[in-house]
Every structure is written in structure tokens, then in C-alpha cells.
């Protein structure tokens, strides 16, 4: 049951990443063609455009969602690669714990950074 559940979430996370990375690529790299979410003139990474995006609740949510799905997708994939090396049960348990803790810590740091960017941009 566990692998069925994790695999389903893995696939779901992959689908979400596909959409959110598509949005990221469109905003950051197709600016010359599809100019969205970059209200100020200049590059998408110019301060004015970064602040404009960071003020948006939509971008706050998508940043956090992309972070969470990418962390889960990446760590679950790495866990599968390591599990295929056929480690013993204690090593498997340790890896599960390590990836869970690392994922949660990185998610907390990333969420805090996104929230900090949001509040700074709002007050700018």
C-alpha cells in the first residue's frame, strides 16, 4: 500500500511541477514573446519586476507549491534509486528518516524565504 500511495503522489507532484515549471519558464525565459507578470520594462530579473511578482499572493502560493512538489519528487526519486541498490532494512529506515527530515527542513527554509520576500515586497 505504501509504494502505491507514494508512487501516486510522485506522479501527481510531477504533473504539478510540469505546470509550475512551465509557468516559470514562460515568465523568466519567454519574456520577449509572452510578456506576463513582468509589468516594468527591462528584464524579468530586474528589481521592479521581481518586487511586482513577489507582492502577488498567486506567486507566493506557486513558489511554495513548486518547492514542496519538487522536494517530494526529487527526494522520492533519489530514495528509489538508492533502494534499488538493495540496502538492508536499517539502512532503508535511516534513508527514509533522513530524506523526510531534509525535505521538511528545506521546505521550511524555502517557505520562510518566500514569505520574507512577500512581506518585503509588500512593504517596498
Amino acid at each position: 500500500m505504501r509504494d502505491q500511495r507514494l508512487w501516486t503522489w510522485h506522479i501527481g507532484a510531477g504533473a504539478v511541477i510540469l505546470v509550475l515549471l512551465g509557468l516559470h519558464m514562460t515568465v523568466m525565459h519567454l519574456d520577449a514573446i509572452v510578456r506576463i507578470f513582468n509589468p516594468a520594462p527591462g528584464e524579468p530579473v530586474d528589481w521592479a519586476n521581481v518586487v511586482a511578482r513577489s507582492k502577488s499572493v498567486f506567486f507566493l502560493v506557486t513558489y511554495v507549491l513548486l518547492l514542496g512538489t519538487a522536494l517530494f519528487h526529487g527526494f522520492y526519486g533519489l530514495r528509489n534509486i538508492l533502494f534499488e541498490l538493495n540496502p538492508g532494512a536499517p539502512a532503508k529506515k535511516a534513508m527514509n528518516g533522513l530524506f523526510l527530515v531534509a525535505g521538511l527542513v528545506l521546505f521550511a527554509i524555502g517557505t520562510w524565504a518566500a514569505w520574507a520576500g512577500f512581506t518585503v515586497a509588500r512593504s517596498a
Binding site: 509504494d3 502505491q4 533502494f83 534499488e84
Partner: protein, 276 residues
Amino acid sequence: MADHTVTSEVVFRIRRFDPTTDADPHWEDYRFPCPPGMTVLEGLKQIKESLSPTLAWRSSCRMGVCGSCGMFINGRPRLACNTQVSELESSLITVAPLPNFNIIRDLVPDLIPMFKAHAETQPYIIRDDTNEQQQPTGEYWQSAHQLEQYLQFSYCIKCGCCMAACPTYATDPVYAGPMPLAQAHRYNSDSRDGGFAARKQVLSGERGPWRCHFAGECSRVCPKGVDPARAIQLMKRQLVFDYLKLGKQKCPASIAKVPDGLKRREGIPETPPRTI
């Protein structure tokens, strides 16, 4: 291009291993004339009859049905009985036991792990109506479309060629392998079966289809044209839909009763008595 109508000389390079005398497997060459139409299995029999009586392998039907003679022939898992020497386009024929299995002796692989995994997936019709199965009153109804859902997977002869070709099974002993998983899907997709929940106990765990990398080698080498890689992907989809509760609840097929008042046409003999 080689002329396949005349007798030519071939060399069979065979991987030999006798656990009672050998520490490691080694190669031995056997040179003999190969008449047109000779199969690899016939070549092995010729070697055993005239060159090396101790050579061991498994075979039975000689017609690609029993699945006993799966071997690694010229770098690819094949059935020895189904492979003509001429189709290999080489005068050097290398024959080794199927990879990914322990060797019992010479060309005899230990297929027990494969059949254990096969048995774990409960590869048979599972239904609640035990009495009907013991004493049938009719036949389970099934449409042609429902038959198509599993028919190609039922052609599997359990030869182990797909297991020998699978790169995941080569490195990961936890993975059940293409044959057991394809056969589990064969029964999961049978409209007469109601055993998905029982099989899910194994399939949803780490022995299930999740570790398949979709290399597709299993389907490429299958001597019966079965597509185990497709079965495994369909199984993944079925299990994901099951977790999301999006799958259709399958009711095992009902019984199609024999209509009353039917009369047998003249000249058609009676059904022989049941033997079991």
C-alpha cells in the same frame, strides 16, 4: 549472404558449469556439420549424443509451447527450439544459461525465484462463488472486447526470457520481474476475476510494478509476442486509479446459464464425462 540450403559447419560455444567439479563456469567449443533447418536445440542434442554426453539443459515440447528451453543464444534470450541456427547469421553460436538466475548446471537456470514471485501474485481466477466453480451450472459471460483486454498476456509460457532481459531484475532482487507482474495483470484485467484486492496486497508494495524503468527489453525478447512492459504500465495506472478511487468497481462476470429446452443436433456426440 549465407546459403541456408546446404550443410555447413558450425561451432557451438557453450557455457559449461558443473557445481560438483567446477569453481566457475567456463566455455567449451563443439564443431559439427549443421544441416539446413537445424534448430539450436537439435544442435545441443547432437552434441549430447556424439560429443559431450554430460551436457545438461531443459527442454520438452520442441515447438515453442512449453517454455522449458529458454537460453541466452548469441547475446539474446531465446527459445532453443524456436531458433534456427541459420537465422543467427553466424557460424559461431554462443549458448549460455539465462542471465539473472543462479545456474544449477550447464544451461539449466534456477527458476524457483521467478515461480515463487509468480505464485505470490495469485495468478488464477479468484471469485466468491466457490460452489459454482466446483460444480459449474453454466459459463462465465465474457464479451469479445473483454477477452481482448487480457488475451495477449495469456500467451505467456513462463520461459523466463523476459526476466533474463530485464535490467531492473538483474540488479534488484526485490523486484518481482516482468513475468509475474504481467501475469498478475492478466488476471486483474480478466472480467471473470474478482481478485484485484487480494493481489493488491503484493502489487502495491515494493515488489510491485513501481521499480520498472520501462526499458522494454522484456517485450522485445518475448518469444510469444507478449508485451509484459505494457502490462506493467497498465498495472501502474490501475493501481494509481485505485488509490485515487477513480477506478471502475469491477464486478466479476455473471454466469450465462444454458437456456432450457435446447436439443442437441443429430450427429454431434455427447460431451465426455468430467475427469476432475
